[in-house]
Subunit: 222 residues, 2 copies
């Protein structure tokens, strides 16, 4: 990533707690969504792959929970401001098929990772490592890519339907991210510190779009 | 445990693969049941506790899966004979409330652990450790005990309802275990090797009953 903040925020910046709370609930809700989506899997292999993604998300949740506790913050209090927004995101993007759930897992995970990787520059050194670990890209996502590509090859009409679905996921994610930015001042400050200034903020969002486009290509949906 | 088999079966006994397959599907199906039952939790703390139990089950599944692969056995093939029986168990014991799901998690986990701990004596040394690790009692079950006891204290009528539920769980588990024993000869042989002879088999089952009774007491249901 090419973003380098002039100065990282101090370790006790309240935006760090807000970021950890957001990440923690994000991982927890992803755990539940993935394990519930897995019921749509046509076979046991898909179920195992989804369970693996979900279990990794829970490990990340535990990492963030203990990081918050080290900072003297209760994880449940830290998550509270984000539960409604994240549940709204999930409710508005409930997959109606196994393929849609795979695309959501891949696109959603990727977007979250990219966003947090962008703001890492603004974080004090001791906090960076926690964010990095909690966003560790799982090797299991290869399974998703292979599965989606195979489905499109077998049924080319799926391509445009899934491409539309992926676009909706991006739109909803942006909408909910804007809500978060409006409501959580300290977190918004962290993002601004990462971008450097308002112009660079646009550049940051462009980069997120580019990464999204790259993932669409990986899935065979571009 | 006081069981000591005269001789452990050899490492390449087919019953070991059957045991690992049964354990693997047991852990995987527990993962899915726990994470789906968690939806009934009235609060986020309960959800997190259930997710933790589920994630531990998935770790155990991965351990068994790689142990099978080391033995040259595909985990999906090894699990296949048990999917129907375990799904039948779960279908016949679907919790209708958060408390029922907590009791099921605790009683079911405990029964499975005890049973496998009993047959450990018949296992060759290199296999014992894998079974032990995959049955590691999670500290998280304290949460279940506290939650159930509090619910009973607040509403004493729950006690007899939940006690009945726990008895049904035991009955269904025994029924399905008998199916497994009838259908899987090598696994039944392993159990016999652990017990020593047919008389000791009765002693083994008595001990399982005792442990179950001890758990009922821990939950305040005896």
């Amino acid at each position: 990533m090419s973003v380098t903040a002039e100065t990282a925020v101090p370790s006790d910046h309240p935006g760090v707690d807000e970021l950890f709370g957001l990440l923690a609930y994000g991982q927890l809700s992803a755990f539940y969504r993935l394990s519930s989506d897995a019921e749509m899997s046509p076979g046991l292999r898909g179920k195992v792959a989804m369970a693996g993604l979900a279990a990794t998300d829970f490990e990340h949740f535990e990492l963030l929970s203990s990081a918050l506790s080290d900072r003297g913050v209760d994880v449940f209090e830290a998550m509270a401001p984000y539960t409604e927004i994240l549940e709204r995101f999930h409710a508005s993007t409930t997959p109606s098929s196994w393929l849609e759930s795979l695309v959501k897992a891949y696109i959603g995970d990727g977007l979250a990772s990219d966003f947090h990787r962008e703001i890492i520059a603004a974080l004090p050194e001791d906090v960076r490592e926690i964010v990095r670990e909690s966003l560790e890209e799982t090797a299991r996502s290869e399974f998703v890519v292979a599965e989606v590509r195979a489905a499109i090859a077998a049924n080319p009409q799926e391509r445009s339907r899934l491409a539309l679905w992926a676009r909706r996921l991006l739109g909803e994610a942006v909408t909910q991210a804007q809500y978060v930015a409006m409501q959580r001042e300290a977190l918004a400050e962290l993002v601004m510190a990462a971008a450097g200034d308002i112009n660079n903020l646009a550049v940051l969002f462009d980069r997120l779009q580019d990464e999204h486009a790259r993932r669409m290509e990986a899935l065979g949906l571009s």
